[in-house]
Subunit: 294 residues, 2 copies
């Protein structure tokens, strides 16, 4: 393990090799830098840094759009020649009262508007946790919420991408925790309207991962890469740069590509230690690690 961020990760394991591994990426043409990887930087700084390092695409978070306005951000991104792989995030459907659930739906419509304005390929849905202990009801609220916003998204040519989150987030962020569950919801809609976002951090452990990715096929609405650090400390902030953890990144990319996905690959890393680094270093290292390990 070399590179400026290696001290943040663990000593690298010898990479395992599988016949099913995707071949290494020879360049960064498919790289999209997810803004969450440089949480402390402004959108302008991230755009500038991506241009400087030849990164062709970004993923934008809505709380960052609030720095200026979606209109200004859209122009900045367009002027810089960057594609937008996704807007993060819609979702968060379950809530204890009808009024609160209606307010969430309204907020999802605004997220769809933002995604349309930015020309994003997908609006990522982080579905939300149960407001009480009742997971069955919460999952029903998620399915109902998606059904309510899907036509609005279709009219604006915005694809919705349900992102199943790792089960460690079930109590706090998403009652949708497996690709199978996300797929079963998405199958009620046209695949161009509602798909599933596959993030290696959330799905690497799943014994049915490979079969589920195959079943998803053209429903794969996005692919995110990063790594799972060992030992786990804070599970939300446990993501690392590709190569610093234990995920079989190329095996999973091979599965996704054989299922037909050839689109942009987002690097999305929530990690407090990384966030301390200058944005330019983060973008440069992301690009290096992308080619070396993703």
């Amino acid at each position: 393990m070399t590179g400026p961020l290696s001290d943040l990760g663990r000593a690298s394991l010898a990479p395992t090799q599988s016949a099913d591994d995707a071949p290494p990426l020879s360049d960064i043409r498919r790289l999209s830098f997810n803004q969450a990887t440089a949480e402390r930087a402004s959108l302008s700084d991230v755009i500038e840094s991506c241009v400087r390092h030849g990164v062709p695409a970004i993923s934008v978070w809505r709380h960052k759009l609030a720095e200026t306005s979606a209109q200004v951000a859209a122009r900045q991104i367009r002027d810089a020649g960057l594609a937008v792989s996704s807007v993060c995030r819609g979702g968060m459907f379950p809530a204890p009262t009808k009024e609160e659930r209606a307010a969430r739906i309204e907020d999802n419509r605004r997220a769809i508007d933002d995604a349309a304005l930015l020309g994003a390929e997908v609006l990522v849905l982080v579905c939300g946790a149960a407001p009480d202990r009742d997971l069955v009801s919460a999952r029903r609220m998620v399915a109902d919420g998606i059904a309510e916003i899907a036509p609005y998204a279709a009219e604006r040519n915005v694809r919705l991408g349900i992102e199943p989150l790792h089960p460690a987030f079930c109590a706090e962020r998403s009652c949708i925790t497996t690709m199978r569950e996300a797929r079963l919801i998405s199958e009620k809609f046209a695949s161009s309207n509602v798909g599933v976002v596959v993030d290696v951090y959330h799905v690497w452990w799943d014994p049915e991962r490979a079969e589920e990715i195959t079943r998803l096929g053209d429903r794969i609405a996005g692919f995110h890469t990063n790594d799972w650090l060992v030992p786990v400390k804070n599970v939300l902030m446990n993501r690392g740069m590709m190569g610093d953890g234990v995920i079989e990144l190329r095996r999973i990319r091979g599965e996704v590509e054989r299922a037909g996905y050839q689109g942009l690959i987002e690097v999305e890393i929530f990690n407090e230690a990384l966030w301390e680094r200058p944005v330019d270093e983060l973008v440069r290292t992301t690009a290096q690690r992308f080619v070396e390990f993703a």
Copy 2:
């Protein structure tokens, strides 16, 4: 929320009620105190405390047996009139070399001997993590390892219980993370020889939990209760006393009981803050919470 340990948990949510919930437990006749809940105490202290509070059974950890010997421990437990719901733990099958894997098998045979000597209902298997990144190979090593020790266990009337662990432990403790995966391994054997241990902490999030518990039927080799605290800090030490977290404990117990399980219910809580408390307080609170929430 009342009781001496309430400050360790969160403010209680209003309990959700489901028609499928099991009725409250009216007494502690089915309670087994898992020694890990009082990690700092000796086996003798745990035995004494269980007798004092009328707890009828315990679960024993092998590193605690080393305090005396399995023989002495077996006599102490028998003299105290306690049942042994389980011995923790066998497993940890995957290893990088053939020699190391053989050593693990040998250690599992010793664990089976301990379980036989203690008259335990089951030897809990925590299956082990991949020694490198390769989960497929690691899972094969687990299946091979269980096949190798199953006849030895059957000869000694020790039932093996595969415990799927929460996916947050996949990198460090168990590549077997779902009940379905555990069931598929166990189905290669007689259900009296190899079953599955259901721990609410590990399975509460699973969208297929209820169906899988039904499918397990008489393969349920043990049932563990505790709670999932919010917010998650350290995921290994995030367990709390029943009632302090978000798990629908009675709904899950209802599922397990309708599947046919009427055996002992272990309380197993890994929590540094709880471990600071005197063993007697831990056993008393466990008994109270068991009747109130489990």
